[in-house]
C-alpha cells in the first residue's frame, strides 16, 4: 500500500469513501441479481426524556430459513450516535463499518466532529450510493439516532432505499416487522418517557413484531439470546446489559400470559353479556 500523500489540488479532504476510490479499494456493484442473500430484519428507535433508545432483534434469514440467530443490528456510530440496520446482512455490515470509519476519519482529519445533522446526511449519501446494489436484491435500510450535543435532545432519522432521509420526532422502525413494531410504539408512546419506560416499549414492540412476522426473532429462552437494546444520552452510547433485557422480557411475557389466561376463548365483555 503506497503512502496516501496528495498534492493540494488533488486532495480528497475528509471523505473516506473518496479516499478508498483513489486507492482502488471501493467495492464494485454486482451486474446481476443475487438470490438468497441473508437478510436482517426488525430494528427500531424511540426518543425519551434523556435521549434515544435503539433496539433490534437478532435473527437473520435467507428466504424461509433462519440463517443466523445471534446477529447484531444495533451499533455505535460514534460516541453520541448509533446506527441500526435492516436488509441484506453482508452489505449492511459493510455500510455500518464504512459509516463508523467515515465519522472517525472526518473527526481526525478535520479536528472536530460532524454535527448530528451532518452525520445523518452522510449516511443518506451512503444509502443513495448503495442503490445499484439495492436494485440487485441487496437493499439496506438503516435507522440513525443520536444525542444532539448542540440542541441537547435525542433525534432519530429514518431512510428509504434511495437515500431519502426523514427525521422522525418520536419513534421510527425499519425492516420486515416494522409495521407491527411501529403500531405498538404508536399506541404506547408518550412524550417525556423515562429511559426504562422507553425500553419496555421497545421490547414490547419487538415482541409483537416477532409474534406476527416470521423473519423477526423474539426472545430465545432456550439459548438465552435476547434482542439488542442500546441507549444514547448525553453520556454517550451504551449497550444495555443482556441480564436487564432478559428480565424485562420475562416481565412482559408473564404479563401477556396472565392476560391470555383470563380471556381464553372469549372477549371478557362478551362473557359478561352472557351471564346477565
Amino acid at each position: 500500500m503506497t503512502f496516501p500523500f496528495f498534492a493540494p489540488g488533488d486532495d480528497p479532504g475528509p471523505d473516506f469513501a473518496d479516499l478508498l476510490r483513489r486507492v482502488g479499494l471501493a467495492p464494485v456493484p454486482p451486474t446481476s441479481a443475487i438470490e438468497g442473500v441473508t437478510h436482517g430484519t426488525t430494528v427500531l428507535a424511540i426518543r425519551h426524556a434523556d435521549g434515544v433508545i435503539m433496539a433490534g432483534d437478532r435473527r437473520a434469514t435467507s428466504g424461509h430459513l433462519i440463517s443466523y440467530r445471534t446477529m447484531e443490528k444495533v451499533f455505535p456510530a460514534d460516541r453520541h450516535s448509533g446506527v441500526a440496520i435492516a436488509g441484506a446482512a453482508g452489505p449492511a455490515m459493510d455500510m455500518v463499518k464504512m459509516f463508523q470509519l467515515q465519522l472517525e476519519h472526518y473527526e481526525k482529519v478535520e479536528g472536530n466532529q460532524l454535527s448530528l445533522e451532518g452525520k445523518a446526511n452522510q449516511l443518506s449519501g451512503m444509502v443513495r450510493n448503495h442503490l445499484p446494489f439495492a436494485l440487485q436484491g441487496m437493499a439496506v435500510v438503516p435507522l440513525f439516532a443520536g444525542y444532539d450535543l448542540r440542541r441537547k435532545v435525542g433525534r432519530l432519522f429514518q431512510y428509504d432505499i434511495t437515500g431519502g432521509r426523514y427525521e422522525e420526532r418520536d419513534f421510527a422502525s425499519t425492516g420486515s416487522g416494522s409495521l407491527h413494531a411501529g403500531a405498538v410504539m404508536k399506541m404506547g408512546f408518550r412524550d417525556g418517557m423515562t429511559r426504562e419506560q422507553a425500553m419496555d416499549l421497545a421490547i414490547s414492540g419487538l415482541f409483537q413484531a416477532a409474534d406476527e412476522d416470521s423473519a423477526t426473532g423474539g426472545p430465545d429462552l432456550v439459548r438465552g439470546i435476547f434482542p439488542t437494546v442500546a441507549t444514547i444520552t448525553a453520556a454517550g452510547f451504551d449497550r444495555v446489559e443482556e441480564s436487564e433485557i432478559a428480565e424485562r422480557f420475562r416481565m412482559l411475557v408473564d404479563s401477556l400470559a396472565l392476560s391470555e389466561s383470563t380471556s381464553v376463548g372469549a372477549n371478557p365483555t362478551m362473557g359478561e353479556r352472557h351471564t346477565s
Partner: protein
C-alpha cells in the same frame, strides 16, 4: 543551453539541511515523555486552533514542529494511511513503526529530490499495554528515524531542553510530575509558561479503543499547581 555551475553533492545536502534546520528553529519546541499510565505530549503553542499534536489512530498520536502547513499535510497523510490499513486488514495491524517508516520514506524522498526540503520534525508515538512497549519515533526533515526511549524533544532548542529534562526526569512517574518537569524544561530558567500557552495531550494505557485525549487549559493549570 547554458551549463549550470557544478556544485558538490555534499554542499547541496548541507545547504538543504541548513535551510530546513533554520526553518525548524524558528518555531517553539515540544516534548514527548512516557509516564506510568501512558505517553504525554506537551507543546508550547499559544494557538487554540492550529494544533501541533493530534490523534492518528486508536493508540497512536502525531506531533510536529516547524512549518505548520507542511507537518499538517503529513499528519493528514498519516491518518489516511492508518485508516486505510485498518480498513483493509484489522485495527490491530496498525502500528507506529510502519507509519514512522512511511513518513521517513516520504521525507527522505522530498529532501533529496525536491527543490525545497520540508521544514519539519515529527513524532509518531504509540502507547503499549505495558510501559516497556511504548514507542516514540522521532523523524527528522531528511527522513532520519530515531527510535527514542523515555522522552524526546522536537524543535530548534531541543538539545538545551533535553539537557534540562534529563536532570529532572524519572521513569514511571505520574502525569503531574512528568508534566511539571516537561513545562519547566521547555520554559528554561528565566520564564514560566501559562497553561493557556500550552497544548497537552496524552495516550493513556487503558482498555478503551481510542486512547488519545486532549487535556484542556483548566486541567493543565490544575496539574501544574504545586508542581515545581
Amino acid at each position: 543551453m547554458s551549463m549550470p555551475f557544478y556544485v558538490a553533492p555534499e554542499q547541496v545536502m548541507k545547504d538543504r539541511a541548513d535551510y530546513a534546520r533554520k526553518g525548524i528553529a524558528r518555531g517553539r519546541s515540544l516534548i514527548t515523555a512516557t509516564y506510568a499510565d501512558g505517553v504525554l505530549i506537551c507543546a508550547e503553542n499559544p494557538s487554540r486552533t492550529l494544533r501541533k499534536i493530534s490523534e492518528i489512530y486508536d493508540r497512536i498520536a502525531f506531533a510536529g514542529v516547524g512549518k505548520y502547513n507542511e507537518f499538517d499535510q503529513l499528519r493528514i497523510a498519516g491518518v489516511r494511511a492508518a485508516d486505510l490499513k485498518g480498513y483493509s486488514y484489522s485495527r490491530e495491524d496498525v502500528d507506529a513503526r510502519s507509519l514512522a517508516n512511511q513518513y521517513a520514506q516520504i521525507l527522505g524522498q522530498i529532501f533529496t529530490h525536491e527543490m525545497k526540503p520540508m521544514e519539519v520534525e515529527i513524532l509518531v508515538a504509540e502507547v503499549g499495554t505495558e510501559p516497556s512497549e511504548d514507542q516514540l519515533f522521532h523523524i527528522l526533515y531528511d527522513g532520519t528515524v530515531v527510535d527514542e526511549q523515555r522522552f524526546t524533544v522536537l524543535g530548534g532548542d531541543a538539545d538545551a531542553i533535553a539537557g534540562r529534562l534529563e536532570s529532572t526526569f524519572t521513569d514511571g512517574s505520574d502525569l503531574k510530575t512528568v508534566l511539571g518537569a516537561c513545562v519547566v524544561a521547555i520554559a528554561g530558567p528565566d520564564r514560566t509558561i501559562p497553561a493557556s500557552d500550552l497544548e497537552v495531550a496524552v495516550l493513556t494505557r487503558g482498555e478503551e479503543r481510542r486512547v488519545f485525549h486532549r487535556i484542556d487549559d483548566d486541567e493543565v493549570a490544575e496539574l501544574l499547581r504545586g508542581a515545581t
